[in-house]
């Protein structure tokens, strides 16, 4: 049985400027115990997809199943924990009081002290929620996602506002949780997070899934490599004419050649440009893959 199963999901909104098709036929399956990253530019439909997955919005068409049940059932049973993209905390309560209150709303919650410990907010337990910094608020929201002791953890851009150290600790915790057989689905803008922490990445653009596979496979799908070298005087047009080169960028004395056949390009480069030095050849990063597959320059 899949942890998450989305079938042909569709959702559009009426806005003052017309109808926006936010999600146009999304199919997605996350196996139990799998960690999947959901990537895509703003407006790709990630958050709407997550809303439908959690039962916060009703799809216009298609179906959602979490562990084989409708989302509402899985949520009431405490099988789902989520950090939504936007969200503050209830004010006038301490962190411990808030987590205790939330724990009471689930059938089999984790122990509150344990939750505070795991989410690394034990030191904030006595602090009022309105006195927390942005990063601390995110950690408390993480504690709230963990307190139902969920089988599925859904994180919508969870590390926004966290500093580097907190972010590192956060992912260590998520990986520990994943290692205990929990299913994790997270949306992120940070490609390195997908690369480092997901078994699989799903790329969305304009409401559809444009790529779905292991991050290495997605990078390979783009197939490009780049050659970077110091070559002060060669005009870009001459380099562009080399076999296997699709694009040339000059950065000061250095040039960057984006290649669809880097083997042919490097042979020709060495033969025709004797002045070339400091050569590096690299596979495309997930970032390049992301930009190519989502088909627009807005990789934010």
């Amino acid at each position: 049985m899949a942890g998450v199963e989305l079938h042909a999901l569709e959702k559009s909104y009426r806005t003052p400027t017309g109808i926006v098709e936010a999600v146009r036929g999304v199919d997605l399956r996350v196996a139990e115990g799998e960690t999947v990253a959901l990537l895509g530019p703003n407006g790709a439909g990630k958050s709407t997809t997550i809303d439908m997955l959690l039962g916060l919005q009703t799809p216009d068409a298609g179906a959602v199943a979490l562990f084989g049940s409708p989302p509402g059932e899985a949520v009431s049973a405490g099988r789902v924990g989520a950090m939504l993209q936007t969200g503050g905390l209830l004010r006038q309560l301490t962190v411990r009081e808030l987590v205790t209150m939330m724990a009471a709303l689930y059938p089999q919650p984790l122990d509150v002290d344990e939750t505070l410990e795991v989410a690394r907010v034990a030191d904030l337990a006595g602090r009022r929620t309105e006195k927390l910094s942005g990063g601390e608020t995110q950690r408390v929201r993480f504690a709230i996602a963990l307190v139902p002791d969920p089988d599925l953890l859904v994180l919508d851009e969870p590390t926004v506002g966290m500093d580097v150290e907190t972010r590192h600790a956060f992912w260590t915790t998520v990986r520990d949780i994943a290692a205990r057989g929990k299913t994790v689905l997270f949306a992120t803008h940070y490609l390195e997070e997908a690369d480092a922490h997901a078994d699989r990445a799903v790329l969305m653009a304009r409401g559809s899934v444009v790529a779905d596979g292991p991050t290495t496979e997605i990078k390979a799908m783009v197939g490009s490599r780049t050659i970077r070298a110091t070559l002060p005087d060669a005009p870009p047009e001459r380099l562009r004419a080399l076999p296997g080169v699709t694009r040339v960028e000059r950065r000061g004395d250095a040039v960057v050649l984006v290649c669809d056949d880097s083997d042919a390009a490097i042979r020709a480069l060495l033969a025709r440009e004797p002045a070339v030095r400091d050569i590096e050849i690299r596979g495309a990063g997930l970032e390049e893959a992301f930009l190519r597959l989502t088909g627009d320059g807005d990789g934010s």
């Binding site: 916060l56 949520v75 049973a77 939504l84 503050g88 209830l90 205790t100 709303l105 689930y106």
Partner: protein
């Protein structure tokens, strides 16, 4: 799922909210003293046979509790803006429990407001028989049901920016048309007033000054407003799952 724990923390955070307490309690109390204290020796206000402190205590109780109960809407709107109601949807909390707890906290505020005004009245020499006071309070608690539902409805329809003026305006309108500020005894205004829950809240409060409470019409109007507002509020809550 434990609704009692949820209720406990909701009450706790309501009574920790200093600004809310100032507006819910401090404001009616200050207004009461401002109006009633200079007239503390008027024992027969407008030949009603009632002392000024008693008359104004009862009037302010109507206004104060209506305000306190409707103010739950502003707190709901703020919670929604923080995305908190979406977080609550991801728990086992049922619509019914959510409503019960919201109404409970609104009533806790209203009841505290009545108690404080009663104590304030006592400092100005108002004495009510315990039985009469209890009867008045019970009547008022029933009369507040439509306002509690309207507060929740407003909280789920409006934003924190718009709810202040909307609630302030509707409280003033309900108060004016319902006869909170001056008695409405005849004419078209009286017919209009009799269809409003605020009129019956005033009648409930007047049990404290020797009023008879409600007849069939009163119960029917309060029941109709309660049922209508509660149905709309429940609908608004269920539909209200989008990002604000």
């Amino acid at each position: 799922m434990n609704g009692l724990v949820y209720a406990r923390y909701e009450l706790l955070r309501t009574f920790r909210n200093r600004r809310l307490l100032i507006f819910s309690f401090g404001f009616p109390l200050a207004l009461y003293y401002a109006i009633a204290a200079p007239n503390r020796n008027v024992h027969d206000l407008g030949s009603s046979g009632l002392s000024a402190p008693l008359y104004f205590m009862v009037g302010m109780a109507t206004f104060g509790t209506m305000n306190a109960v409707l103010s739950s809407g502003a707190r709901i709107a703020a919670e929604r803006q923080a995305g908190w109601n979406r977080q609550l949807r991801l728990t086992g909390l049922s619509t019914r429990t959510y409503f019960r707890v919201k109404i409970l906290t609104a009533y806790a505020l209203a009841l505290s407001s009545i108690l404080l005004l009663y104590l304030a009245g006592a400092t100005l020499g108002v004495g009510l028989a315990a039985g009469r006071w209890a009867q008045m309070t019970l009547f008022m608690l029933v009369g507040l049901v439509p306002f509690a539902a309207l507060g929740i409805l407003g909280g789920h329809l409006l934003t924190p920016d718009s709810i202040g003026p909307a609630m302030g305006g509707s409280t003033a309108l309900f108060a004016l048309l319902g006869g909170v500020w001056f008695p409405i005894n005849s004419g078209v205004m009286h017919d209009v007033a009799r269809a409003l829950p605020s009129y019956w809240l005033v009648q409930a409060a007047h049990v404290g000054t020797g009023g008879a409470g409600w007849g069939g019409a009163g119960w029917a109007v309060v029941a109709a407003w309660s049922a209508g507002a509660a149905a709309l509020a429940a609908r608004a809550y269920r539909r209200d799952t989008k990002r604000v």
